[in-house]
Each structure stands twice: as C-alpha cells, then as structure tokens.
C-alpha cells in the first residue's frame, strides 16, 4: 500500500491509499478523514472518505494548496497509528431478487450489456462459478456487507462483501451506462454492491430491489426522521431474501409508517474479523437477531 497525493484543481486534494480495494485501505481513508476533521484546519469545506481513497475540498483564498498538502501529509503520520476499529451498526435490508422492475429495465438496456442473452443475475452467477440464480442468491445474501463509501448520489452505499477475496462476487459494469435505474435497485460493479437511493443513470449490474427507503429528503419516513440518509461509512448490511408478498407488505408498512428497521449497534474490529471471517460474521448475525 503506497499513499499517493494529487491536487484536484486548485480547490481539492485527492489522496489514494491503495489502487486496489481492501478493508485496510478503507480504514486508512476513514482514520485520515476523522483526523482531518479533528484538526479543524481553516479553509476546509468538505472531507470525503471513499473506498480506498479520500478527498478534501478547501478554499485556496484561506489556505494555500501547498500548505494544505503539508497539513495532510503531517496528519497521515498520526492517523496511521489509529486502530482499525469502528462503532458500527448492523442493518437488515430485505431484497426481492429478480424483481419485475429491474427486470423490465435490464431488458430495455440489453444491448448495453456484456451478455444480452442472459439476465444480470444469470450472467454474474456464471462468471463467478455460482450455481444459477439460486446459488447466486445464496452467495449474495449469505454473508454481511460493509459500507465502505457513501456517495455517487445522495445516500447511496457502496458495499464490500465480508468474505475471503476468492469468494467475493465480481462483475463488470455495463458496457455503456444505462440512462435509467429503478429507485432502490440492489446493484453490483467491480467488487462493490450498492443500493441506488434515487432513480437515475447507472452502470452497475441489477440483481433486485429493496422495499426499504434509504433516502428521504422530506424526512417523513420513520427511520429517516433524524437524517435524510440512512447509511454512513462503517455500517454493515445483511441482505434478507424476500418474496413478492413480503415485498408488497413491507412497501405498505413503510407507507403507513409501521415499518421498523431491524438494526443493532455493534463494534467492528478489522483484526478480529480477519482472524476468522465466518466466525466473526456469525457473531454479528447473533447481535442482529438478538441471540
């Protein structure tokens, strides 16, 4: 892992911790973001941690870019000592896989896909050596996923599968991005899963849809009353496969204000997780289910 600094014009500094994705790179990015926030450097207007990199936006009339660069490099040394431990929440997100809405959309944009003859799930199952749609759903929903970045559009979580690299699902993005993606689509690109928080353009494979809103600018939905976006970096997501009846019932419950998000506070410790991933995940599931 080698840190690389670059100016993004005269108002940004971009810092890449690693070219490839890992939870180690994520924790470096997060601990830097936290340290920069604490340092309260004058002129900083945005601090954005990402998967394996981060970015700071600043006002060059207040602090010279070269001074900003010096500040960040000094902070990196101190931040490197931070332990990869985070106060986190495990959140259950129900998914209707192979739903009619993403299916309609993926058929509409078939000519932009690597394999126009199969669906996104069938294609991804095949290139990952999974046993068809059922095998795919089992692999996708079997282990939890780690929120390693929030962004692209308002409140969209990037999700990193919490299994050995060789078991992680990988899939390319569409050959050309779609101009449409249903709201709350569960997607995948590279090694990252995501939930599209709003309807719009997108290039990730589409696997299903969740009935649980994750962004509400009006803050009317129960679990979004405190803040309009549900996810923050470090959260953990557990997919729960559901059928159409449960999907419809959940949508109705959300509308009536009766849906209660299943969520528990947990602490995530990267070193412990790496010692025994499946065992660690089992403990997380225990916390979620109250065992």
């Amino acid at each position: 892992m080698k840190t690389r600094y670059s100016y993004g014009g005269d108002e940004h500094i971009f810092v890449e911790y690693d070219e490839e994705m890992s939870l180690e790179a994520f924790f470096k990015s997060l601990s830097m973001a936290t340290a920069i926030k604490k340092a309260k450097i004058k002129g900083v207007t945005e601090i954005c941690p990402a998967n394996a990199s981060m970015q700071v936006k600043f006002d060059p009339d207040v602090i010279k870019p070269s001074d900003m660069m010096k500040e960040l490099k000094a902070i990196e040394k101190a931040a490197a000592k931070a332990k990869p431990v985070i106060k986190s929440r495990i959140i259950e997100i129900p998914v209707l896989y192979n739903d009619p809405w993403t299916h309609e959309t993926l058929m509409r944009f078939r000519e932009r896909h690597q394999d126009p003859k199969s669906t996104d799930i069938e294609y991804t199952a095949r290139i990952n050596n999974l046993d068809g749609v059922d095998g795919f759903i089992k692999a996708h929903s079997g282990a939890p996923w780690f929120v390693s970045m929030v962004g692209f559009v308002a409140g969209l979580p990037f999700l990193y599968q919490m299994v050995d690299r060789k078991r992680q699902i990988q899939s390319p993005k569409y050959l050309r991005p779609r101009t449409d993606t249903p709201k709350l689509t569960v997607g995948h690109g590279g090694c990252f899963g995501c939930i599209y928080s709003v309807r719009g353009a997108g290039g990730y494979q589409m696997f299903g849809i969740t009935p649980v809103p994750i962004y509400d600018p009006n803050q009317k939905i129960k679990h979004l009353k405190d803040f309009m976006c549900l996810f923050r970096p470090g959260d953990i997501v557990k997919w729960k496969p559901i059928d159409r009846a449960e999907y419809d019932a959940t949508v109705a419950a959300v509308e009536k204000g009766k849906f209660k998000l299943k969520m528990k506070d947990v602490t995530f410790d990267l070193s412990e997780f790496k010692k025994d991933m499946d065992g660690y995940n089992a403990k997380l599931m225990g916390a979620l289910n109250g065992n």
Binding site: G8, H12, E20, A52, Q55, V150, V153, P172, G189, C229
Partner: protein, 322 residues
C-alpha cells in the same frame, strides 16, 4: 409576495451559492453554475450576493408578479420583456404588480440568472435554497419549475431602474472556449502521446450537458498505459476502485468522451480522471451551449491561483461599479 409561473421554461430552478458540507454522503454543492452572473444579478436588485435566484437554461420562463419588484437578468443573453416591452439584460428593471415578465429567444450563452428584490424565499434545506433535482432536495419542492407554481418572494426594498453592469465586466466564454485544467488524479493512466493529443484536439460540447456534468466529443480516444486491473476496480482500463470526484474533475469513461463534473456532480464513482478544470473557469462552462467548440489548456497551480485572483478582482470591480 409571490410570483405565478405561467410558463416554466425548459429547466428553471431556484439556486443560490450552494450547499457545502454534504458531499461526503453524495449530496453535491448545487447552486448557480455561473456564480459571477448570479451574484451580479443579486447586486443589481439590492439583494445580498448569495440570495436565491432563478437559473433558466436556454429558454426563459413567463412569470406574473403579484407585487411590485425590481428584477435583473444576467448571465446568458436572454432578453427580458415586461408586458411585452423589451428591456435590457444586466440592468435593473421594475416589474409592477400584475405585470408579466417574459423572455425572447436565447442570443448567447446557456444560463440566465433572474434575480428578484427580496430573493426567492423557498425553505432553506441543509443550509441552502438551491435545487438538487436528482435528489429532489431544496429549491421549489425539489424540482424544476412547473406551470401553476406560486414562488414565494422575500421582502426587499429593491433599487431604482436602470442600474447596469458595464459590458467589460461581463465574462463570457471565447470561441473555442478555453478550459484551463490542472493535470493530475489518474493522469498517469494514459500514454504520453494520449496526454499530448488531449490538449491538441478540439472538442465539442455534447447534447448531454447539464448541471451534473458537461460531456465533450470529437477528440481522439485516449490510449491507456497497460496494467493488470487492481482488485475491485472492474475490467475496463478506464475503471478505478470507486473514488471521490472533485468538482471540475474530467473523467473519460472508456477513454472516449471527457465529462467535466459541475455543481450537481455525482460525488464519486469508478471512472478514472485526467485532471480538474480550475475554479476560475467553472463559471464559463455553465454558459456553453451544446455543439460549442472547446479545448483544454494545461496550466500550473501558480497559474490556476493567479486566474482565481483575477476572477476575484473582476468581481471587486463589478461591486465597485455601483
């Protein structure tokens, strides 16, 4: 008071100077794309420079006023009319109760800023009145104006008619538009030859040009330095592990068509970027029409900061002209 929207125009939104502080969760700055024009419009009608105004793209709205107000139209050359009578742009004008403000066809530029004394008084959301349409946030009900909307307007004393900004202080893009940029970010992903022709080639603004980003077409495709793709990035050579996108950053999906992100930017994603347009030239992008020719010009950080100072001086002169 209120303004009744008779015709909304093509895409008219409420904008102020934006909503910093939420890019880390994917909520962009938003705000006027041509900030100098937005501030000028406000000063002309006696508002604070960052009051909320209307940003009209390519085509003006038709607005009926329910009280007397001072109005100014800056930015693109979109000549206003009051009850059908032609008026000047970049000049304060009076609109009386019951009168209708309408617009001629666009003559130059892309975005006009319509300031009203007292400012457009929509609710402040996360510190700003700006509209972020993709997230249905802020502005008037989180969307562009529609026929029948009643826009709330704040209290303002207004100014006298005929206040004007001298022509030499109105900044507009040249032909071709020169976008100065600082190479960086993932510049090392392309070959030296590709880096050379990126600056040599003339580009054209594509029809896909909006508040999120401006796409350019017509230059030669960029060749990549060969590498084994890093884990998690995706298989295309233009893919990276999803990272943050600076405002003004230039991504080139597939190496073919550069996209410069603007005020409603997507905050991050998986395409490599060759560098960033300098802050002093961001206003100009908002005034580029589709099919306009443009080229990218390499500058150093020192030059970028000098350009930023010059831009600030221009605004100081503009303020002093009153």
């Amino acid at each position: 008071m209120a303004i009744n929207v008779i015709k909304p125009g093509l895409s008219t939104t409420v904008q102020d100077l934006g909503r910093p502080g939420y890019y880390n969760i994917g909520i962009p700055l938003s705000g006027g794309m041509d900030r100098l024009a937005l501030k000028a419009a406000n000063l002309l009608v006696g508002n604070k420079e960052g009051a909320a105004v209307l940003e009209a793209v390519f085509m003006g709205p038709e607005l009926k006023f329910t009280e007397d107000a001072t109005v100014a139209v800056t930015g693109a050359e979109l000549p206003p009319r009051v009850d059908g009578e032609p008026r000047e742009t970049w000049t304060s004008l009076k609109v009386k109760k019951g009168q209708v403000l309408s617009f001629d066809f666009l003559k130059k530029g892309a975005r006009a800023y319509i300031a009203v004394s007292g400012g457009i008084d929509v609710p402040v959301v996360l510190g700003s009145r700006s509209t972020y349409t993709l997230g249905a946030l802020g502005g008037f009900k989180g969307r562009k104006l529609e026929e029948g909307d009643k826009l709330p307007v704040g209290k303002g004393r207004g100014t006298k008619e005929g206040r004007s900004i001298p022509e030499k202080l109105r900044r507009a893009p040249g032909a071709p538009a020169e976008l100065r940029m600082l190479p960086g970010l993932y510049w090392h992903r392309i070959t030296a030859d590709a880096g050379k022709h990126f600056f040599e080639d003339t580009w054209k603004v594509a029809p896909e040009a909006d508040r999120i980003g401006y796409r350019f077409r017509g230059g030669r495709p960029l060749e990549f330095v060969p590498r084994e793709q890093p884990f998690g990035a995706g298989s295309d050579p233009s893919n990276i592990v999803d990272a943050c996108y600076p405002y003004g950053s230039i991504q080139v999906p597939g190496g073919t068509e550069p996209i410069v992100l603007h005020r409603d930017a997507v905050s991050g994603g998986g395409y490599f970027m060759v560098g960033t347009v300098i802050s002093a030239d961001m206003d100009l992008i908002g005034q580029l029409q589709p099919h306009t020719t443009a080229c990218f010009v390499e500058v150093t950080m020192a030059q970028a900061l000098k350009a930023r100072k010059d831009q600030a001086k221009l605004y100081d002169k503009l303020k002093a002209s009153f």
